[in-house]
């Protein structure tokens, strides 16, 4: 069985994003970029499944600029076997991504597609679900645990107030939640080996997919600055304060 792992290059989670002065988006010039953390969890899970002898090959795929090669090399250094970069400098919306992934999945025929539940840049949380719908495949989203048995995969999903267990017949789509696993560091020998692993470069037109945007970003703004709090002496003062503010 093959596992396909889509990964996205995003602003590093440690970086505090700055909004561009004209409000057209987040300023990414000279900002550290990394693999989307949820995708890192997806890569880790795919490698663990392979290490458990339940998959033969892990293929990482990224859709984005040439620099997304670095993100793919990270996936290869963690243990993916080969990578595909669908190169474009345009912003690709979740539907476009899902269509490209569908085309790749039809070519590669993976038993599983594992991807992050969302990317931390736009927080769309749509790609996995759209891919499942386009391919008419079962989906297990927000995975907390993933277990493979024969031709089915059991996914414990993180839902409000608990866990829901679903059993899917493969091929299937799984999206990862934060607690699924803790991704490994790439070791030095694996970083060196990753440089020699195959990385194919394609472009969206190769798959006949129209990635023209359907949405228009009208404005991006900084979150409001949080005001300083106020300390009160006792409960009576608190109640009086709340009443004065008209919230109680």
């Amino acid at each position: 069985m093959k596992i396909l792992v889509p990964v996205k290059r995003v602003i590093d989670y440690n970086v505090k994003p700055r909004v561009k002065a004209d409000g057209s988006g987040v300023d990414l010039a000279n900002v550290k970029m990394s693999m989307n953390p949820f995708d890192e969890i997806a890569v880790e899970e795919a490698i663990r499944i392979k290490e458990a002898g339940k998959a033969e090959e892990v293929i990482a795929v990224s859709i984005g600029p040439a620099k997304a090669q670095e993100t793919l090399r990270t996936a290869l250094a963690m243990g993916a076997d080969r990578a595909i970069l669908v190169e474009t400098d345009d912003e690709v919306e979740p539907l476009g991504v899902a269509k490209i992934l569908k085309a790749i999945a039809e070519e590669e025929e993976p038993g599983l597609v594992i991807l992050g539940k969302q990317a931390i840049d736009d927080d769309s949380n749509q790609t996995g679900q759209m891919l499942a719908a386009l391919m008419n495949r079962p989906q297990g989203t927000f995975a907390n645990t993933v277990e493979i048995e024969g031709d089915s995969v059991t996914v414990k999903r993180e839902i409000d107030g608990g866990l829901e267990t679903v059993k899917l017949t493969m091929p299937a789509i799984v999206t990862t939640d934060l607690r699924l696993n803790e991704p490994r560091y790439a070791s030095l020998p694996n970083i060196m080996k990753a440089k020699k692993k195959p990385l194919d470069t394609k472009n969206p037109a190769d798959f006949g997919v129209d990635i023209a945007p359907r949405l228009k970003t009208t404005n991006v703004s900084e979150p409001p600055v949080r005001q300083a709090g106020e300390k009160v002496e006792d409960v009576d003062a608190l109640v009086a304060k709340l009443k004065a503010l008209g919230v109680a």
């Binding site: 550290k32 670095e70 990270t74 250094a77 560091y185 070791s187 030095l188 020998p189 970083i191």
Partner: protein, 390 residues
């Protein structure tokens, strides 16, 4: 403010990710307890970084010295202390170049996997530091053994190492073929050494460096511990010393980057008289100057490393480059250390800012592994052809 580094991104990222698990609190505790950062060294080993220079056929990654220098630089730039583990990197080339195939096959795979630690390098003695040729520790051949008698000092990490590269005299100075002849290099197995005539005494120092002195009293080692030919040891360690100086230079560049980043962050955020202190040019300029000095030193270190890798760094040219790299980098890091304390004012002395700890650690490198004066003397005499002073 990030200090941008364009090259070797995946290597740098990997080291940074590992070091992120060992924050300031970890190093402060080790410093306070004067404890060896065993967990950090184990993590470096497990991730394969200490086997960086070991060829792939022996289980390492076969990196160049330049890449190894990037690893050491990033460790220091992350606020960690690579001194706990750098010896294996800098003695490795000596072992690779002059060790026999049998010695390499016997030790390298276990060093690469972390099973064997090669972290001790026994050269200096109480009566011979820079003047290596005057060392007195004797190794006398008796049948299939050598018997060692003498004393080594400033042998760091000896208590945390299984193997030691040991330089000892096999021919008395007046009987040696030439001035530089008569010393031999041994790869010594120190395990259970203390029951066989070896005694390790820790030396407390200004910083947490796990350094020791070692006494040998009829300490026997097998004859096959000899590296290369008897009497040629001094020649063997010379090329290793160039590698060591380049790697130490890279560590100093990393330290300088840490100091400059810390100082910039602090100067940009600390407000006095309702404005950040970094708005004052009296605070800005020393940081900017240190940055320029660090970049210049970095170029020299990388140039020396590339020359070493290409083989151009052999002989006198290599000595010149490695020495200048270490000189400039250790001075850049020490300037940056001093500037960083000054920028922090009183807080620079508070342990929780890590500045005072790094300051103490950075001070070492204008003294060791070779002092600034000895480098200047080398340049004056061997590069510029000035009259010899000793």
């Amino acid at each position: 403010m990030p200090i941008s580094d364009g090259d070797f991104p995946e290597l740098r990222e990997a080291v940074r990710a590992l070091c992120a698990d060992f924050p300031g609190e970890y190093w402060r505790e080790k410093d306070r307890e004067r404890a060896y950062p065993g967990e950090f060294v184990a993590a470096l080993t497990k991730a394969g970084f200490l086997a960086a220079l070991i060829p792939e056929e022996y289980g390492g990654s076969g990196l160049s010295l330049e890449e190894a220098a990037i690893v050491m630089e990033e460790i220091q730039a992350a606020g960690a202390n690579g001194a706990a583990a750098h010896a294996q990197m800098y003695v490795m080339n000596t072992l690779l170049r002059y060790g026999s195939d049998a010695q390499k096959a016997r030790y390298l795979p276990d060093i690469a996997s972390g099973e064997l630690r090669l972290q001790a390098f026994g050269v200096s003695e109480p009566t011979s530091g820079t003047d290596t040729l005057s060392l007195r520790t004797r190794a006398v051949r008796k049948g299939d053994r050598y018997v060692i008698n003498g004393q080594k000092i400033w042998t760091s990490r000896a208590e945390h190492s299984d193997l030691m590269m040991l330089l000892a005299r096999t021919a008395p100075r007046d009987e040696a073929k030439s001035k530089t002849h008569g010393l031999s290099l041994f790869l010594v197995d120190m395990r259970d050494g203390n029951s066989r005539g070896m005694a390790i005494e820790p030396i407390r120092t200004m910083m947490n460096h796990s350094t020791t002195e070692i006494f040998f009293d009829d300490f026997e080692i097998p004859a096959d511990a000899l590296i290369g030919e008897e009497g040629e040891g001094f020649r063997y360690i010379l090329s290793g010393m160039n590698a060591e100086r380049i790697l130490i230079g890279a560590e100093c560049v990393g330290d300088a980057k840490w100091f400059i980043r810390k100082a910039s962050e602090y100067a940009g955020s600390r407000e006095v008289f309702d404005r950040p202190i970094g708005q004052n040019q009296g605070v800005q300029f020393p940081i900017a100057r240190c940055y320029a000095q660090m970049r210049a030193a970095e170029l020299m270190v990388r140039h020396a490393a590339r020359a070493y890798d290409s083989g151009e760094g052999a002989g006198k040219a290599g000595g010149e480059q490695a020495n200048m790299a270490k000189l400039l980098a250790s001075e850049a890091s020490w300037s940056a250390a001093d500037m960083c304390v000054q920028t922090h004012g009183g807080f620079g002395f508070a342990e929780e800012y890590d500045v005072e700890r790094k300051f103490r650690e950075a001070r070492l490198y204008t003294v060791a592994p070779i002092s600034t004066n000895a480098i200047l003397s080398y340049i004056a005499e061997h590069v510029l052809g000035l009259p010899r002073s000793y």
